[in-house]
């Protein structure tokens, strides 16, 4: 069971209070209807699935109820950062910094 820091509750909470919600920063475009099939495929099906740093969403579903983003390493399972939904994706440089 992981321990996850909720950026809204500002505290560490047990994983059992959370639900994983898949890859983060997949943008649903305003003009959905105009997407090509390939774009739709990319948005809906294709995933980074990295062995390494993953940007992912969690929902503190049995806590404050908020969705938020996290950076976690998929080999160590360690969280490097959590941040609120809507905050922009940390830059690669910033992520590299966190890795240290």
């Amino acid at each position: 069971m992981l321990v996850i820091h909720c950026p809204y509750c500002q505290a560490d909470r047990p994983e059992l209070e959370f639900a994983n919600a898949g890859e983060a920063h997949i943008v649903r475009p305003d003009n959905m209807a105009e997407m090509t099939d390939a774009e739709f495929e990319k948005m809906f099906f294709v995933r980074q699935n990295p062995k390494g740093v993953n940007l992912e969403r969690w929902r503190h579903i049995h806590g404050c109820g908020r969705f938020f983003n996290a950076i976690r390493h998929t080999v160590s399972d360690k969280f490097l950062k959590v941040y609120k939904a809507g905050e922009s994706r940390p830059s690669d440089a910033e992520i590299a910094e966190l890795m240290k």
Binding site: Y8, A11, P14, L16, E17, H60, G63, C64, G65, R66
Partner: protein
Amino acid sequence: MAKANVATRDNPTSGNRLANASVSIESAPPASRISFRATPKGAKDFGKTLDLDLPVKPGQSTSKSTLSALWIGPDEWLIIDTKNPIDKLMPRRENANFCATDISHRNVAFIVSGNGAENTLCASCPRDLSLSAFPVGSASRTIFGKAEVVLLRTGKTSFRLECWRSFSPYVWDLLVDGAHDAHI
């Protein structure tokens, strides 16, 4: 006109109580409850109406007499009044800054108290409920076995635990189970 007997409120665990040497658990009397969702301004305004500031810090609660306000999320509070009817609590008008929903009957509460109260809960709740991590007045939605609950620490050795009504027999049984080992 035919009228049902609706004077009393009834839930699946009404009247349940149990006590052993370390802990006592009882079903709390019916209460009025609001799920209150609001912008910061909406929350402030409602605090004025209630004459009780809604807590703004995560995990905290405020209370006054029979009324408590629990921080649940950044825009969500659980308002509980153990005495006054719901009509007295509900805001009169709707506006764009808040949403108040009557959930008085959605929840059932248990009062868990005694030296073994924390242990009773820790049989099924993965949270750190020690006094330092979850001091008196702390409030939180969390998980209890396979049920979602809201916990409020009302004293050093007493908690109020709210769950959805259909989960209450399950939660009750879990509490009874936890009470068995509460002295450890």
